[in-house]
Symmetry: C2
Subunit: 376 residues, 2 copies
């Protein structure tokens, strides 16, 4: 009974910061504004405004987490988890999903028009961090008049935003569910991001970021996505999905797509360039790499004790290995936080946070029920 | 006592197939010729010609495995293992290392002159396989009048050549040491190779392979190498070597090289394009991906029983994980072969076969002593 209903037909909304402040002082020291956030909501905010759950998305995600856009065949990216009777039960909870700044799905990012020039920002867009993303979301939560979120949740980069929410606004987060994530990017994680960025920037169609009106650096961005996809799957899930199956009966003995796995990666790369902005890819991966909640400036944040944590990792996730989630728990325990750790047996690799619906539903629905009840 | 002496000053030699056959019928059905192999030897072939060890190199390796080229500061790529008193003791053994066909280090490859056109082959060079590489080496071994090699050894692609030698010429290989290798490339291994190839081919300087005289597709090849390097190291070895150390004191908040790991990868990528041919990268990775000793055509090779095996894997090697080496051993045991398996605790990842000198020396020198003695 984990997939009881659909959030139905939904529409992405836009929220532009009202004055004041209308703009955001960024971690870099630069100021960004005006800022628009794209978001969706599912369910109803109750009178006490204490049933709100913020869902944070991953690198290439967007505000469309659940339900269907009018006319669409495919639902939002976490539809298996959000809806009536699902893990994030919209009969009980008010679920908000906000697209991050720096993105290209409605929120202000490098492809947005720079009000100073009337042209897309491109590389004039300032470098943003996970903390900046969260600070922008805070205005959206204020806009809803929500003092305290029942829960912040997300996988991968969504998990970083989750951790950052608690670090930045501990008094506004009752519970947090970081999934398949880390307190900081490791050198291997940085390295994979960097080759992705180099792939984009090596493409002459990137034009130093000034490609708007000329078309995307398609080859470079597709390549970056292909690299990414390898890291999102596991050795085992690739074996199960493709093994060494060929597209034709025999080896081509040419530089052609011989193996199904090659065709799949190309397909994923090519479809990505149709839906994602190359500069956003650069900005968001940079935010990932800069993320480090263990750095000195966070040493004196110690106030998470009140927030309850459910930390989830997946056994076959080698991009965000379970030891990183265990380190989150270790740091929380040192601060006497109430933290539960669950490592789900899955062969899906990092993608598991999008695919392991049943196990996650079981863990999360119970956790939320308990946390929600305690408030009453 | 693992590093007793140097093989001294050495020189790469060239061997061009004498007629007949002067050419090689390839697995693809095409014919390649004439063929030159670059090779080096260390130590002395004894009168019985029964002390010869063939060392096979990895993707970007060459014939220069040990000793120094006149005027060079750095020795050959496996100098720690080959020399007087070392694992491959040149006081006892005659060690041969041959550059593979398809390469760019003296053996016939895509950058060689096509006798039919007087210009470099480029993509007119036929697709070659690991089996073709081994068949070419067989002529070199014939040339030395060696009926039976005391040992064939190699790591990574060198390990595939080792396995292929036994599959193709079981009666000519007394013992074999495949290291950090597999019976077949997995979809994940194919996927990493494919993104490397795509990186090269997406570079407009690649010119459909016809770049000779115009300069290499430097950006694409450097990118392929950067991807490769991530897979050669382990998460842990990257953490130990770089952690999150910055090149400058603070984040640049620009798309610059912030982290040491990024600088390292760029350096490795940039230096690679100075020493390796981009088309050779394509051909050799394709040979890796086509490698599959478990395919039907090999099912009736069952004659390895006479060859003694030492199979070595490394715990942190995630590119050629230990389970692949265990599968080699399993297949050998099914055929009643004499096979010893050793998994070395190492944090170096796939690079361990180049770095874990002491453990490998210990294992290999004893194995060789035993195998050599049995012949007398």
């Amino acid at each position: 009974m984990t997939n009881e209903g659909s959030a139905g037909i939904v529409k992405t909304q836009l929220f532009t910061f009202a004055q004041p402040p209308g703009e955001l002082k960024l971690e870099s020291g630069q100021v960004l504004g005006p800022i628009t956030l794209a978001y969706e909501t599912y369910g109803t905010l109750n009178a006490a405004r204490d049933n709100a759950i913020l869902v944070a998305h991953a690198l290439s995600g967007d505000a469309h987490a659940a339900g269907f856009h009018e006319g669409d065949k495919d639902p939002g990216w976490w539809d298996s988890m959000i809806g009536p009777g699902k893990a994030f039960d919209t009969n009980k909870y008010f679920v908000i999903c906000s697209n991050v700044i720096g993105g290209c799905k409605g929120s202000t990012g490098p492809s947005s028009v720079n009000p100073k020039t009337g042209k897309p920002y491109a590389l004039d867009f300032p470098i943003i961090t996970i903390s900046d993303m969260v600070n922008a979301q805070r205005y959206l939560i204020d806009h809803f008049g929500i003092d305290k979120l029942l829960c912040v949740v997300g996988g991968s980069m969504g998990g970083m935003q989750t951790l950052q929410w608690v670090a930045s606004y501990p008094e506004r987060v009752k519970s947090a569910i970081p999934i398949a994530t880390a307190l900081k990017h490791s050198p291997q994680q940085i390295a994979f991001d960097e080759v992705g960025r180099q792939a984009v920037m090596a493409d002459p169609d990137w034009r130093e970021g000034d490609y708007y009106g000329h078309g995307q650096p398609e080859k470079g961005l597709a390549l970056a996505r292909m690299i990414g996809h390898i890291t999102y799957m596991s050795d085992q899930s690739m074996e199960e999905k493709f093994s060494r199956r060929l597209k034709e009966k025999n080896y081509s003995f040419k530089f052609k797509t011989d193996f199904e796995v090659e065709g799949y990666l190309k397909y994923r790369g090519d479809s990505f360039v149709k839906r994602f902005d190359a500069n956003s890819y650069l900005y968001i991966t940079k935010a990932l790499d800069y993320f480090d909640l263990t750095s000195d400036k966070h040493k004196h944040h110690g106030k998470h004790q009140e927030t309850k944590f459910l930390v989830i990792a997946f056994k076959s996730d080698w991009l965000y290995p379970a030891y990183q989630a265990q380190e989150i728990v270790r740091q929380l325990k040192i601060r006497h936080a109430d933290a539960t750790y669950c490592e789900i047996r899955s062969t899906y690799g990092h993608d598991a946070f999008l695919l392991e619906t049943e196990e996650q539903t079981h863990l999360i629905s119970h956790f939320l029920k308990k946390v929600h009840k305690e408030g009453h």
